[in-house]
């Protein structure tokens, strides 16, 4: 059976934004180590793609690659996609209740009002003319609002393209697909592989990260486009009969029939 290769790319977003480079800030991992992938958990992953063909030369299995980005210190990708919006609304409701309680009797102290103001958090804007990010509040990884620049949660990294030798030589055909999966925002990058040409083929992944900057007294998410490299090692071997080790033969039934 063809295998589905899962390739996780983990980004150290904060470090990558600081150094403006993904070098040393990506950690690649796939599920094919047992068939010869090397560099698991490093920036130098070589993903094995074991191709097989029938003895008449026709392609026997198709291999499928799936790339999934993840971010260090981010909200786990396993929570539903509306997590941020839900947490934001819950926070607003609780703050409104507390505000109403304050106005009920006596005078609200300045300290309490300041505390509530802190609670409301800050809402960064989209970049002018930019697309993609909805203007949610700054939340930390626990889903609480925050005004601290040190504790907020970066938006998930977005793969925007896959190029390079493996693509230009038509070894892989990457594309972005939609799925009803609530994880990964329902979008993911996948590719089928032409396993008829063994060799090592590098490819480049284009990634968009988002940086929070202060602009005209407003917080703005600015996109930062970076690239990183990985490669595929494609092998190709003929299929053979498992009973004979070569071609088709009779089944190895026992010499004496089972007693009926």
């Amino acid at each position: 059976m063809a295998q589905q290769h899962g390739i996780i790319v983990l980004f150290d977003v904060e470090n990558a934004l600081r150094t403006r480079s993904l070098d040393g800030n990506t950690y690649w991992f796939d599920n094919m180590k047992f068939l010869g992938s090397t560099g698991e958990g490093t920036g130098d992953l070589v993903t094995i793609v074991p191709g097989t063909y029938f003895l008449d030369g026709s392609q026997a299995t198709e291999q499928v690659l799936n790339w999934l980005p993840a971010a260090l210190g981010a909200i786990p990708p396993t929570v539903p996609r509306n997590y941020l919006a839900e947490r934001e609304r819950a926070h607003d409701q609780r703050t409104l209740q507390q505000l109403a309680a304050l106005g009920g009797e006596g005078e609200a102290s300045g300290a309490e009002l300041t505390r509530l103001k802190q609670r409301v958090g800050r809402r960064p804007r989209k970049q002018a003319g930019g697309r993609g990010l909805t203007a949610t509040k700054l939340l930390d990884v626990t889903g609480s609002t925050t005004t601290s620049a040190a504790a907020y949660n970066y938006p998930a990294p977005v793969i925007t393209d896959i190029t390079g030798q493996a693509v230009s030589e038509k070894i892989i055909y990457p594309a972005q697909y939609g799925s009803p999966d609530m994880v990964y925002d329902g979008w993911y990058w996948a590719a089928t592989v032409d396993t008829s040409r063994p060799g090592v083929y590098p490819y480049t992944m284009h990634v968009q990260l988002h940086e929070l900057v202060e602009q005209n007294n407003e917080l703005v998410w600015q996109s930062v486009d970076l690239t990183c490299e990985s490669s595929l090692k494609i092998t190709s071997d003929p299929k053979r009969n498992a009973f004979t080790g070569a071609g088709l033969g009779v089944l190895p039934l026992p010499a004496f029939p089972p007693a009926g």
């Binding site: 059976m1 010869g36 097989t52 003929p238 009973f243 088709l248 009779v250 007693a259």
Partner: protein
């Protein structure tokens, strides 16, 4: 007569590895024989075959990202064996339930070499198919041990002894 009978082995790899068994609904065997197979969709599939037909086994993994391959298919021998030891002796643990016919330990079948060109074992290289011999006795189920390899590691191989081929 159909030229080829396909047996599909559907495996819930995550379920099988969690339970450490291919029972409990973790495996389902289905064939496309038109000669009257029995127990379709269960681990006890008895596939009706005719001599000269090619039988082919194909694994399908329900969770597509857990590799499942056939590790071995060994037909269980049918030679007579002595009856089980006297179970009245309290020192002797009770004998396991008798199989449908006497079973000896499987013969030493050389494991198929599944090594690929990169030096790693890849059972995807093996095609599990063979011709039904004319020496097969009609009306008797020939049971076989189906061993499956789920990913890798010391606990990756699980087997069942219940499926069979039956010449009609």
């Amino acid at each position: 007569m159909k030229q080829k009978v396909s047996i599909v082995v559907m495996v819930d790899a995550v379920g099988a590895l969690s339970d450490r068994t291919l029972h409990n609904g973790n495996i389902s065997l289905i064939d496309d024989s038109v000669a009257g197979s029995r127990h379709q969709g269960t681990p006890d599939l008895i596939t009706a075959v005719v001599p000269g037909q090619v039988v082919q086994w194909t694994p399908i993994h329900v969770d597509v990202q857990t590799p499942v391959e056939i590790q071995a298919i060994e037909f269980l021998p049918g030679a007579a064996v002595p009856p089980p030891a006297d179970s009245d002796d309290p020192a002797v643990p009770p004998a396991p339930p008798a199989p449908a016919y006497p079973v000896e330990p499987p013969p030493a079948v050389p494991a198929p070499d599944a090594t690929g060109s990169n030096g790693h074992e890849n059972h995807d290289l093996l095609v599990w198919e063979g011709v039904v011999p004319y020496s097969m006795v009609p009306g008797v189920p020939y049971r076989y041990r189906l061993s499956l390899k789920l990913h890798e590691g010391p606990n990756s191989v699980l087997h069942i002894d219940s499926p069979a081929l039956l010449r009609v």
